[in-house]
């Protein structure tokens, strides 16, 4: 495993899904909200913004191919779980396809 040595500070509203945390993110009380090396997704970014986190330290080199592949797999698995009761009709299939494309585009 390679140690990340380069990082940059990114305002929370400019951070993108797929970025990798260089350091732990903590709340004002010092509690860890997300540990270092976490690959950020949209839900995490929204949650951090709600908790008042203004800036993130992320790896300057961006996510590795392994990180991106793992995140894509996580997105697909989560969507499959969310759609477990939705059925397999054409409209549900279209919804799942479009949302998957939308989410994966954040990682490209």
């Amino acid at each position: 495993m390679t140690t990340m040595t380069r990082f940059r500070a990114v305002p929370i509203d400019e951070a993108r899904a797929g970025a990798v945390l260089h350091d732990d993110v903590r709340d004002t009380a010092g509690n860890v909200l997300l540990p270092r090396s976490t690959v950020l997704d949209g839900a995490m970014l929204r949650a951090l913004a709600r908790r008042g986190v203004a800036t993130l330290l992320v790896a300057a080199d961006g996510p590795t191919l392994d990180h991106l592949a793992a995140e894509r797999a996580r997105v697909r698995a989560r969507l499959a779980y969310l759609c477990r009761h939705a059925g397999d009709g054409p409209a549900n299939g279209l919804l799942r396809l479009v949302v998957e494309q939308y989410r994966l585009a954040e990682l490209s």
Binding site: G42, A43, R46, A47, A49, R50, R78, L79, L82, C83, R84, H85, A86, G87, G89, P90, A91, N92, L94, L95, R96, L97, V98, V99, Q101, Y102
Partner: protein, 284 residues
Amino acid sequence: MTARDVTFVVNNLRDLPALPSVVLDLISAFGRDDVDVTTLADKISMDQGMAAKILRIANSSFYGLPAKVKTVRQAVLVLGFDTARALAVASKVIDHFGGAHQARVAEFWRHSIATAVCARSLARHAGLDHDAAFIAGLLHDIGRLVLAVGFPVEYARVLDECAADEATLGEAELRILGVDHERAGQMLAEAWKFPAVIRRAIGNHHAPAGADLADIPGVVHAANAVVQALDLDGATHAAVPPLLDAAWDSLGLTDSHLLAACRETEGQFEEACRLLMRSEDHER
């Protein structure tokens, strides 16, 4: 559950406190074109909390207006009549039911606001009344809130069953309470004398009637599924409800429209929550 129990639930719902008259007046005026700007501004101005909120919304970055809006009448003019009414109603209803600081209630309103924002987007793309869609989306699950508040012990069991994937929400509600959130919401909407199309959007949001598929109830039905698929809060046991093929086809929307609605919903969601859920009491 016995028939007597069902009657008890229904009677309990009927005893719920009424919505403020200003909200009822504003909602009942949807679809009417004989209400002018001054009348609407006067109604909003009579309620200090509502007036403060509509001014804050009009002056927020959400609308990015070039000059500061100082009066409710200006706000109604710059936001547009229907939009001002929809936002005033939304903020008042959320305040009225309160509890936005409680995690469960906040989670409820966040889903409702997401559905409202998405319904507004889909309605705009479908050429329908997007402000009525916003209000119908906001209130579509109101039955869920009143069942949870009126019957907290029973509703905790409903949620436990759903979390264990033993039943859908509606199935668990019917088994444990004898009434589901669609029916409960429809009863409230009838008691509050909402316009018929909003009543139907609340009462049939999981299965709109054929004649409603291309109208606001069909939009709310689709929006409810879209926002669950977007997973905006990452709720562990969230589930996308079935999106009826007939509903989607009737709206005449393309996959490009759907993609645009996803972007618009996610792009506006947090700001809409911030504007609508922040209590005036917390600002004093």
